[in-house]
Amino acid sequence: MDTNIVEIINVTREVAWLPWAVQYFFLIGLSVGGVLLSLPGYAFANDEWRKLGRVGLLVALTCGLAAPVALLSDLHQPGRFWHFYAVFRPTSWMWWGSLIIPFYVTGLLVYAWTCFREELQEHGRVDSHLATLYRLAALGGGRDDRLIRYAGLVVLAGAVLVALYTGAEVAVVKARPLWHTPFLPVQFLTTALVGAAGLVLILNRFAADHDLAVEARANRLLAGFLGAVMAVGGLWLAFGLFGIDRTHTEALEGVANSEAWRVTAVWAVLATVAPFVIAVAKPVGTGLLTGLIAVHSAWMFRWTVFIGGQTVPKTGAGFYEYALPAGPDGLLGIIGTAGLWLFLLLVITAVLPTPARSAPRPVRAAHAADRTMAAAE
């Protein structure tokens, strides 16, 4: 029967998970990705991965330290955060998250210290006023691969738990078909790896010595991660399009008729395919471009999931409107989080500048330097 329904009066529910949440899931995801990228070089002592691992560690540290601040800010009563720790609520993934986050961040700090200890020791040997502080920070030791491995395994466990809880926390929300999919945790992880590889490419340029071998490796990794994103995204789409699962069909039907969502989908596909093609075709010399697109793509995925997802009414017709507020609950929060991340990056790279001779394979590093010179000429 041909029925036309026009909604005359209904309530508009504003988004309750704010852009702070987008920032948190973005930063913690990149941090997890950074940890995973650092493990081969540090925890598994593979020297070929060491330089990339160091940049990955910068990503993990800066993002991992900024993320909890964004999460705390997303609470409407941030001063009550201790309430999480005064109860036992195993049915809530968010409650588990309140335990996992400190475990992960503490593990990350210890792991980073074990990784940077060698550099702290080196700085302690230089004749400067700060040498004593560096020696103190190194606790009288240097590189200890066994210790790094143990700390690496602990932070790996933390990273896996973070990936699990952040994905499950959102995926269990049956009320939102767009979120209620087992693909979501995998999508969070793969896009986090994309973002982490992207940030490695950017920091390799600006916060490291622009090593071309690192760039090529990171670009190849990025291509692999983007491939995974496309595969999982394609599966999600197939589940919705071919009616394999009702929730996925509902999710797709809920947004398919919206022009804004269609534009977002095309944009997302372009932001995935374009860096993939560039990274595969020209892994050297394109790192900044692919890196920027990748970081943007990882952030946009979370923005679309959280803010876009909340504009889909659960009962009402059409979509809720959302306009980014200029204040702390909007633009200022996003800029503020980015500012905090930049501050952390400046502090860490000021305390631990890129080692001049950190390349484990000097011959290869020399080649890379030559190539850089040639490119500059």
Binding site: V6, V11, A317
Partner: protein, 251 residues
């Protein structure tokens, strides 16, 4: 005094221990132990949409009774213009918290601020709530919101303070059409029990498995879930514009 109010008072006076019309606690294991309230009752509401005239008196009464902040609603009468076979009419659907038997907002709460009383009423302790809004996401009915005066989760409580004092919820008290009927499901003689038994009322989004305890008589299946229609034309701050007019004409 309307029929529903009389039944309610009689139910209170009887302090009934009658058999439950519906299972009381299937969701208890997942949601945690119930606390507060009287387990002898299971409060519920039946909404007869055939009687609702869309006057929004319930919406206003709720706001006044519960000091609901501006631009927030614990209940509202969703109103639709429906055109079928060339004929146009209105459809009213009062919405509120469904005080589900298996409420999805409870297990997700990381602090235990949201809980269910022994009488089935789902409440928020806003001295414990951290305002994480996880419950807002988990509610399939968009019944929850963040109260920006308390910065905590907020929702309909069936006017628990009034119920505990032997009064009806404000929306029921004020309903001019007698569309909202409140009562005790554990009292087999209550109006709600009888209506649930005899009228085969429907619930919103039954596929969610939440077992709502707000029932609807005369609920059109087209409005049982997410409504497939043209979104609301009303905007609080927008000027009336041509596009909206055209859409309405088209409808």
């Amino acid at each position: 005094m309307d029929q529903s109010r009389r039944n309610f008072c009689r139910g209170i006076g009887a302090a009934t221990v009658g058999a439950a019309t519906l299972a009381a606690t299937p969701g208890e294991a997942a949601a945690g132990p119930r606390k507060g309230g009287d387990a002898a009752h299971r409060w519920a509401m039946v909404v007869d949409v055939r009687k609702c005239v869309g006057c929004q008196a319930c919406t206003v009464a709720c706001i006044m009774e519960n000091d609901v902040p501006e631009n927030s609603f614990r209940t509202i009468v969703s109103t639709y213009e429906v055109t079928e076979q060339g004929k146009t009419g209105s459809y009213m659907l009062p919405r509120l918290c469904n005080h589900c038997e298996d409420a999805p907002c409870i297990p997700v709460c990381p602090t235990g601020a949201t809980y269910q009383r022994k009488d089935g009423i789902v409440v928020v302790d806003n001295t414990v709530c951290v305002g994480c809004a996880y419950c807002v996401q988990a509610c399939p009915y968009d019944a929850r919101f963040i109260n920006h005066e308390t910065q905590t989760a907020d929702k309909c409580t069936f006017c628990v303070h009034r119920v505990d004092a032997g009064l009806l919820p404000a929306c029921v008290e004020t309903c001019v059409g007698g569309a909202r009927i409140f009562g005790d499901l554990k009292d087999p003689d209550s109006t709600v029990s009888r209506l649930v038994r005899e009228q085969d009322p429907k619930v919103l989004k039954p596929e969610q498995g939440t077992q709502p305890r707000v029932f609807y008589i005369g609920l059109d299946p087209k409005f049982q879930g997410k409504v497939d229609g043209t979104p609301t034309l009303w905007r609080p701050s927008a000027q009336p514009h041509v596009e909206a007019h055209v859409e309405k004409e088209h409808a």
